[in-house]
């Protein structure tokens, strides 16, 4: 058996390279199919690896609590809220919390002005603990201090993107910017963090939480977000359960009422992204595998032509002693090798394409091919070769020697 495979492979390779151009054109469908699968997979996998890294830098044991109003409730004018009292409650009774900070988004305008430059940014009120919870570090100046909050100081920490947009000097510390009609002194510049999925993390302005509260005036409607990080040994699910119970109790929710808040973990977010990416990979992969089938039909077509063309040769081989399985193996292996070679070329091409795309678009993470994709691409193209090689090979193997020899 091994001998037959070995000899068939030898003669198949000779025949494939004897018709170099034709072999290449035959397998082009496979090349294109595999190249596109690999390009897509390498891009999405690169992206998912990158997202994994980004989120782990967010701190995998951090939680975000937000108010949540179902659409039906919103229609009735009801709005769920998270209040400063909730924050206090969690600070007092929450377990395994390393640090906790409120975030209050500017609710009227997020316009910010410096001299003649105006821009829009994400403006949030928060406390000194935000730096630890979100793992934000300073490039210049200092972060918001506890005293800033106590005295409602008009100070701001900005991200690199905001500094650029406002054409602030390289060192913007001690400059003044206008936010919601008030002047704020810049006390620090955050270390740039880059993009996550096109969302610029440096497009951000932080002010003391209490300053933001006073800016917003109507405190009865304050709806804050709470971000907290857990101590090392904390179990995220346990804490989530405890916080849920705490907040449901505080909000007087009956047993048949839904939560009016959501607790998100960084991990959950990451999983969501992963699910989306995997789905995209799957869908595109599915579409592309159709092109592999088309490629397989191309191979079958040429193999059938080649069997007809080589009818006399087959007759000669049979006349000098080739059995059915010799001829079958030769054509089957030829089809498989043809397809496999296409798969290899496609692999290289697809990886090149993925790398080219990811490096030509700045914000795109580097391409990476997982081993399973290589195995799958080659396995699948080999399988396509065998599948579509069977018919021509059987046709060749079943030829009658004398008829084949007489074939003109």
């Amino acid at each position: 058996m091994f001998y037959v495979i070995f000899e068939s492979t030898r003669s198949a390779l000779i025949s494939i390279f004897a018709h170099g151009l034709r072999s290449f054109l035959t397998t082009l469908g496979i090349v294109i199919g595999v190249a596109s699968v690999i390009a897509v997979v390498s891009l999405t996998q690169g992206m998912s690896a990158f997202i994994g890294e980004s989120f782990s830098s967010l701190g995998s044991n951090s939680l975000t609590i937000q108010s949540y109003t179902p659409i039906a409730e919103q229609m009735r004018g009801v709005r769920a809220r998270l209040t400063p009292e909730d924050l206090e409650l969690i600070e007092r009774r929450g377990e395994s919390i390393a640090s906790i900070t409120p975030i209050l988004y500017a609710n009227r305008t997020s316009q910010i002005r410096y001299a003649a430059q105006t821009t829009f940014s994400q403006i949030m009120g928060t406390t000194y603990a935000y730096s630890e919870v979100s793992q934000s570090y300073m490039l210049l100046g200092r972060f918001i201090a506890e005293s800033d909050n106590l005295t409602r100081r008009r100070v701001a920490v900005i991200g690199e993107k905001v500094r650029e947009d406002l054409a602030l000097p390289e060192n913007p510390v001690n400059e003044y910017v206008e936010l919601g009609g008030e002047w704020f002194k810049i006390i620090g510049l955050l270390e740039p963090k880059g993009d996550i999925m096109g969302f610029n993390q440096d497009d951000i302005v932080l002010v003391p939480y209490s300053t933001m509260v006073s800016l917003q005036g109507n405190q009865a409607r304050t709806d804050i977000q709470i971000q907290l990080s857990l101590s090392e040994d904390a179990d995220v699910e346990d804490v989530t359960r405890q916080l849920t119970a705490l907040l449901r109790n505080a909000h007087d929710l009956g047993p048949d009422e839904d939560d009016d808040f959501v607790i998100n973990t960084a991990e959950q977010l990451m999983e969501t992204f992963d699910t989306i990416i995997n789905m995209v990979t799957l869908v595109i992969g599915g579409i592309v595998s159709i092109s592999l089938l088309v490629g397989g039909i191309g191979i079958m077509n040429i193999m059938l032509v080649s069997v007809t063309e080589r009818t006399r040769e087959i007759g000669i081989c049979k006349a000098v002693g080739a059995k059915r399985h010799h001829i079958l193996a030769q054509f089957l292996i030829e089809a498989m090798l043809l397809s496999l070679l296409g798969g290899l070329i496609g692999l290289a091409l697809g990886y090149g394409l993925g790398t080219a795309i990811s490096s030509s678009i700045d914000s795109f993470p580097p391409a990476s091919i997982p081993l399973w994709a290589i195995a799958l691409a080659l396995g699948f193209s080999g399988f396509v070769g065998v599948l579509f090689g069977i018919l021509p090979a059987a046709k060749a193997a079943n030829l009658d020697p004398i008829d084949a020899l007489r074939y003109e």
């Binding site: 001998y3 000899e7 000779i14 025949s15 004897a18 006399r312 040769e313 007759g315 000669i316 081989c317 049979k318 006349a319 000098v320 002693g321 080739a322 059995k323 059915r324 010799h326 020697p401 004398i402 020899l405």
Partner: protein, 247 residues
């Protein structure tokens, strides 16, 4: 008499000198309403080590007969025992095995693989015998040396002259050391000098004990063997010793 008894009997016969025994072999082709009787009841026995020439005009059925003899084609009727084996009972793969082991076929039109070199062509039958590449090459080179073509081993068939191709075909038939050598018009495409060279080679093989069956329509080529069988319209019309006068 049943075929089992027949083949048992034939096996006994195979132990003596009879290599080929044919009984009433027929080959009919249906061409629409017309039936072409290419072979019409051939009965013949050929012994081990014999040199038999078949002679007859064009269309008399010589090639058809040789194809059946070489297990390439199956007769429409009749019985054929080769080396004591009842050929009609064999499957396609067993016939392939016989063609590979017992028979060396030299075709009227050479039938060389166009994309293989002379050496590759001679090596081809050995591929089906599980012989290593190196050993195949040695054996093929030896066979090509015997037909004095060792200086053209790397040439493709279309780079060889007709006589050289004929010799490649002979080397391919010889390389497997078959029990029977079948040759269909081995000199038909050759000039008289090259033809004489080939016949000299056959004569040498014959003296070494090789069974030879030749098809020709040239009387002097046929005369070189031991026995001449004359065909006409698919029937044997004469079976004589070589050198016997025609009339």
């Amino acid at each position: 008499m049943s075929s089992v008894d027949e083949s048992a009997a034939a096996k006994d016969a195979g132990e003596d000198s009879v290599l080929i025994r044919m009984q009433d072999i027929r080959k009919h082709y249906e061409m629409g309403s017309q039936i072409v009787r290419a072979l019409d009841g051939i009965s013949v026995e050929i012994g081990r080590g014999d040199w038999v020439s078949f002679i007859g005009s064009s269309g008399s059925g010589k090639s058809t007969f040789l194809n059946i003899l070489g297990c390439l084609d199956r007769p429409s009727g009749g019985e054929y025992f080769l080396n004591g084996v009842y050929v009609e009972e064999l499957g396609a793969n067993q016939l392939a095995e016989i063609r590979n082991r017992e028979i060396g076929f030299i075709f009227q039109s050479f039938n060389l693989l166009p994309r293989a070199t002379a050496l590759g062509n001679v090596m081809q039958p050995l591929v089906y015998r599980r012989i290593s590449y190196r050993r195949r090459k040695e054996m093929a080179m030896e066979a090509l040396r015997r037909v004095r073509l060792d200086d053209r081993m790397d040439h493709l068939p279309n780079q060889l002259s007709g006589g050289q191709r004929q010799r490649v075909a002979i080397a391919r038939a010889l390389v497997t050391e078959p029990s029977i050598l079948l040759a269909d018009e081995p000199t038909g495409n050759l000039d008289s000098r090259t033809g004489a060279e080939i016949m000299q080679l056959f004569d040498q093989l014959h003296r070494e004990g090789q069974t030879l069956i030749l098809v020709t329509h040239e009387e002097d080529v046929a005369g070189l063997g031991d026995r001449v069988i004359e065909l006409l319209d698919g029937k044997i019309i004469r079976d004589r010793r070589a050198g016997e006068p025609l009339h």
